[in-house]
Structures are given as C-alpha cells and as structure tokens.
C-alpha cells in the first residue's frame, strides 16, 4: 500500500510519523513517501518561532481547541525525556498584553500557571492595561523537523523533492520570557511580539492577509524593530542576525477531512490536513492523530473490500 504525504512542514512530517507509528505493523506492505518542494530549514514551519499558543478566541471551534490540548499534553509528556533537547522542546513563560480587558482564552487551563498580570508587572509595559502570564512550551521547527525527519528515515520512509510572516532574529540571550502584544482592532499578530528561542530571539508582528510576497520588506523591518524596542527597551543592544518572511496558511478553519478523487478510472483516497494559519505547531499533533484516524477508517473500508474468500 503506497501512501504519499504532500508537504514536509510540521503538519506533513508529524502526520507521516503518526500514521506510520500506528499502522505500519498492521499493514506490512505500507510504503510511505514524502513529497515537498521545500524541506527543513526552508519550510514555513522553520520560520515559526515555535511557541505553543493558539489564537485568542476559538470562535466556537471546539474541535480545534481539543487538538491544541492534545498537542500540548503530548509535548508536555515528552519534556522529561532524553529526546526533548533534540526535538527543540522546552518550557517557556511569558506575557500576553492588551490595551483593554479581554475574556480568558480557550487555552487558559491547558497551559501551566495561567494568571492575570499584577499592576506592578503592567508597569513594565506602558500603554498596556491588562495581560496574562503563563508557562507554555517552545517547539523549535529547526530542531523538530530534523528530529521528525530522522524518526521517519529510521522507519524507512522515503523523501522526494519534486508559501506572509515576517520576523527578525536577534541575539538577545538576556530575554527569558515571550511577550506577545495584542491590538484587537488590527488583528492577531499585527502587534509586536518577542519570542526567545534556544539560540536566537524572534521579533515579529506582521500578519498581512492576502500578501503572497515572501521577500523581506524594509518597511516591515522598521515596523517590527521600532515596535519591539519600544515594548522592550532592553532589546536596543540586541544584534540582528537574520530576517525572514513566510506565508501562514490561513483559513477560517483547518481543513481536516477525507476526499475521494477520481481521474478517469483512477481513484485515490485523499486526507486533507492544511490551513493551520499561525498555529500549526500549536495544533499539529492533535491534527496528526485525527488524520491517522481517518487513515484507519480508509484501511477498514479497504480491508472489508479485500478480505480473502473463505475456503469451502
């Protein structure tokens, strides 16, 4: 049985691993192949800072909240394992800042130690009157994708070669907390954010709906740098080492469903798992598990179709 995974970002590789882990012993003939135009370190996932944090509101989409929780719990369980460092997985705490009172997010009980900011802490951020503090997880794409690739390669999965987020990477190792500001009017991630990684700190805050341009923009560079330095004066002495623009695959909701495609006499089962916007890392494992369940249902149907005839 041949399975093709299209895409080698966090979604493609984790879905591949999830399916292979669960089904390769049940389907000895399983041959899995990954096809992508870009591999790590050139995927959208590699550009992501890697912070586990969903959007502020789930818009009533409980399914996505459950997938987020599944992902968080899965990663938390791996924290103490020897693989954590290689995966690029570690705990990180930090702030979400607002200019107005907002309701608690759907994920307040998923993360650790969620609380409101005290007045003294808000003094650090003039212009912001309300905020949250919590401990969450970082899963750095540039480590996680190679780790997933290694796991898949060990399992015999084959890889074949045959789309905006902008950020700057700086050296600011004295910053130990993430800081994400929110401007309810301008929308998610259009307000400055600072996310410290294991080597570099990511400065960002650009979310331009419909912009397909992957080139770095000088104007966006200025916006990010000035806004982040205003937010965190200690950044002024940070050294900018890299800059990147990527395209979040945004959709009103994640497309995670089966589809049978027909081309003449040819028929194939497709599982779609795309449209994770700015929360791919946050939701990836829950979606991979759901995709694996869809795969299981396809297997069940096919097995029924190809059961050997009883000998009479």
């Amino acid at each position: 049985m041949r399975v093709a995974i299209i895409g080698a970002g966090v979604i493609g590789l984790s879905t591949a691993l999830c399916i292979h882990e669960q089904y390769h012993s049940l389907v000895p003939s399983l041959e899995m192949e990954v096809y992508a135009d870009r591999y790590t370190p050139r995927t959208t996932s590699d550009g992501a800072a890697g912070l586990w944090q969903p959007y502020l509101s789930d818009h009533g989409n409980l399914q996505e909240t459950l997938w987020n929780k599944e992902t968080f719990d899965y990663l938390l369980g791996h924290l103490g394992s020897p693989a954590a460092k290689e995966m690029g997985l570690f705990l990180i705490s930090g702030y979400n800042l607002f200019t107005q009172l907002v309701p608690d997010p759907s994920w307040r009980n998923i993360v650790l130690g969620f609380r409101n900011l005290t007045p003294k802490e808000l003094e650090l951020f003039p212009g912001y009157s309300y905020g949250w503090f919590n401990t969450a997880l970082m899963l750095e794409g540039r480590s996680y994708l190679p780790w997933l690739t290694n796991r898949l390669t060990q399992r015999g999965v084959k890889f074949f070669r045959k789309k905006v987020e902008s950020f700057q990477e700086v050296l600011a190792p004295w910053v130990k907390h993430f800081i994400i500001t929110h401007d309810i009017k301008s929308g998610i991630y259009n307000s400055p954010y600072v996310i410290p990684g294991s080597e570099f700190t990511v400065l960002g805050g650009i979310y331009q709906h419909g912009n397909w341009n992957e080139e770095n923009s000088a104007q966006d560079h200025k916006t990010i740098w000035e806004n982040c330095c205003r937010l965190l004066p200690a950044l002024q002495n940070a050294k900018i080492v890299d800059e990147w623009s990527g395209l979040r695959p945004a959709r009103p909701w994640v497309r995670l469903e089966r589809e049978t495609i027909r081309h003449g006499q040819f028929q194939a089962e497709v599982i779609h798992n795309y449209g994770h916007g700015g929360f791919g890392i946050t939701i990836h494992w829950g979606c991979a598990m759901a995709a694996a369940r869809l795969f299981g249902s396809i297997l069940q149907e096919k097995k029924l179709a190809s059961l050997p005839q009883p000998r009479l």
Binding site: L79, P82, A84, T118, T135, P173, K176, A238
Partner: protein
C-alpha cells in the same frame, strides 16, 4: 572639610555598590576602592546573583525586607532600560519546590518579587519528588557583567580603583578620612571578626540555552539559575570550609541532583566549575565604629557578612552604609570646626 577622602575596602558587589551610593549621596567625596581582587575574581563573580533573599537570624525582618525592596526596585528599573544587557540584569521566572511543605508558606519577600503564587497540581507534576511549590518572577544579576558595569559607572564619577591587599585598616589612616569595610570573607582577617565564617559553595556554570526558567529546591542546596549565557547549577553549603579548589565528587553530585530536577540538563555543554566562600554571619555587620589607637581616631563603616544574600540585599545595605558614611563625615566636620575655636 573640602573633599572628604573615603576608602572602600573590597570590590565585590558590596564594595562597588557601596562606593556608588557614597558618590550619589556625597558627590564632593573623593572615593577610592582598594581590593586584592577585582572582577572576575571576587566571590560575587561565582554567585548566580539571584534575587531570592536569605534570612538573617539576627537582623529584624522589617529591615531585611526594606533592604530587599530597595535592591529589587533599583535593579527592576535597570532591567527595563537600554542598559539592561550591559549591566547583566534580567527578569527570570520559575519555581521553588519543596519535598515537604515548609513551615512558612509565604516568605517575607513574597510581595516584593513579581506574581508570587503557590504552584498548581499540574505544575507540580513536573517535579514528582516534590509536594509543594511557589512560582514567581524575580531578577538576576549576571556577573561579571554587573560588576563591570558598576566599575564603569564608578570610573565615570571619578572613583579610583587600586589592586592592593589591605592587611590592617590603620594602614589607611594617613591617606583617608573614613574607611568603609566591604571586605566580605576577608573581614575575618582584616578586623578579626570571629563571628564571620565561610560557607563554601561549589557551582557549575554550563551552556544550556533552552532553559528559560529557574528551579530551586526549597532546601537551598539544589538550584538551576539560567543566566544570559550560562546556567548556574548548584550547590553546596559547607560551613567552615576554606577550600577554594573544586571537588570532582561534588561536581558529579551537583550535576546529578540538578538533572533529577531538570532532565534536559543531561545535554548541557561546556561545564565550568567554580567555588566561592559565602561571608556568613548571624546578621550583616552594618554599623559605624571609631577605631582609636594612641590618640588617633579612624572612623570606619562596616558593611559585610551578607552570606548567601549579598545580591538580594546589596543596594539596600549600600545605601545604609552610605548614610553612615555621611554621619561619619558630619561628625568629623563637627569636631574639626570645634577644634578651630
């Protein structure tokens, strides 16, 4: 008195911050720092520099709280400025965990640090051997950067610094009007203080840049403090040990204890081992004294014996010491004007 001449003995965090406070309160003073060691070779350079106070049995709690509050406020302002990275001051959050619930669930400093609260069950799951915990955010002073930043500010105000081993405070009598004794553990020899004793601490400084939170066991013996470039792993509290040589058995023990709190440390790189002698005392010696010998008088301000709490209390005690220096100078000016009659 034209420009009172003040000598500060000692160039650790206490000596440097006291000298700075003296310049701030008495700009006309001429301050000179004398020490046999400067950064990176002081006791302060070994310390992680975490603002988590140590409680002195002999100092009233309200005084300790005041010292801590002043130190915290001072460093908080620096951490939020463009100077933060040069000064090595940064905020860090984390957990203090206890195997057994402590008698005092709320320490005296819980409302000075930021966001202090008890850990939830979910958070405690990360520490299976511990049953109780406190989560909070505090400040860390990385050394050498903090000491070098203090030295830079001191030089900008005209303070001179000399490497010199002062064996006896009376050596300074002819050159200085007031002497400030910030000699730390050196005070045992310098002024013969038998109430001062070393508490030896061995630490490891490792590279583990994925660690962003501190973890401290409430027993004070095992701790993980992420700094700007390195994480400090500790430690030991060996009373009356004067040895400055790292002990390899201790190194392994510290590493193992820290790894059991934070397993990812097994991947830590480039382990450096350091030893410091905490200048410990039942209470910080922060007081004026006038030494007299054969008709000569030497006003002295003592500011030493901060033990495990040097960084946590440094600014508060430095300000008090500067105030006492001011009193010494006023007394000298008073007596010198009386002498003119």
């Amino acid at each position: 008195m034209a420009a009172p001449k003040v000598a500060v003995v000692g160039a650790g965090v206490i000596g440097l911050s006291t000298a700075l406070c003296i310049m701030e309160t008495c700009p006309s003073c001429s301050v000179t720092i004398l020490s046999d060691q400067f950064s990176p070779n002081t006791t302060s350079d070994v310390a992680a520099g975490m603002l988590i106070p140590h409680t002195y049995p002999g100092t009233p709690i309200h005084v300790q709280k005041q010292w801590f509050k002043e130190t915290f406020a001072y460093l908080f302002a620096i951490s939020n400025s463009a100077e933060a990275s040069e000064a090595g001051i940064h905020l860090v959050s984390g957990w203090q965990v206890f195997k057994n619930t402590p008698e005092e669930e709320l320490p005296f400093w819980s409302d000075v640090v930021l966001g202090f609260r008890l850990m939830s069950e979910a958070e405690l799951q990360k520490f299976p051997q511990h049953r109780f915990g406190q989560a909070f955010m505090t400040l860390k002073c990385d050394c050498p950067p903090y000491l070098l930043w203090l030295e830079k500010r001191l030089k900008a105000t005209g303070v001179q610094m000399y490497t010199r081993k002062v064996a006896d405070l009376w050596e300074l009598h002819s050159e200085y009007n007031v002497v400030v004794n910030c000699a730390g553990i050196g005070a045992q020899q310098l002024v013969g203080d038998k109430k001062l004793f070393p508490v030896r601490g061995q630490v490891l400084k490792v590279r583990a840049p994925w660690l962003k939170n501190f973890i401290r066991d409430g027993d004070g013996l095992t701790y993980i403090y992420p700094g700007i470039h390195r994480v400090t792993l500790g430690g030991t509290r060996e009373k009356e040990s004067w040895s400055l040589s790292p002990d390899p058995g201790t190194t392994k023990d510290i590493f193992d204890r820290c790894c059991s709190l934070e397993p990812s440390l097994r991947g830590a790189q480039d382990i450096k081992v350091k030893v410091g002698l905490r200048p410990s005392r039942w209470c910080v010696r922060l007081q004026r004294e006038v030494l007299s010998q054969g008709g000569l008088k030497l006003p002295v301000v003592h500011n030493y014996g901060h033990g495990a709490g040097g960084f946590s209390m440094h600014r508060g005690t430095a300000k008090e010491a500067a105030r006492l220096v001011g009193e010494c100078i006023a007394a000298l000016q008073g007596s010198s004007s009386r002498a003119k009659l």
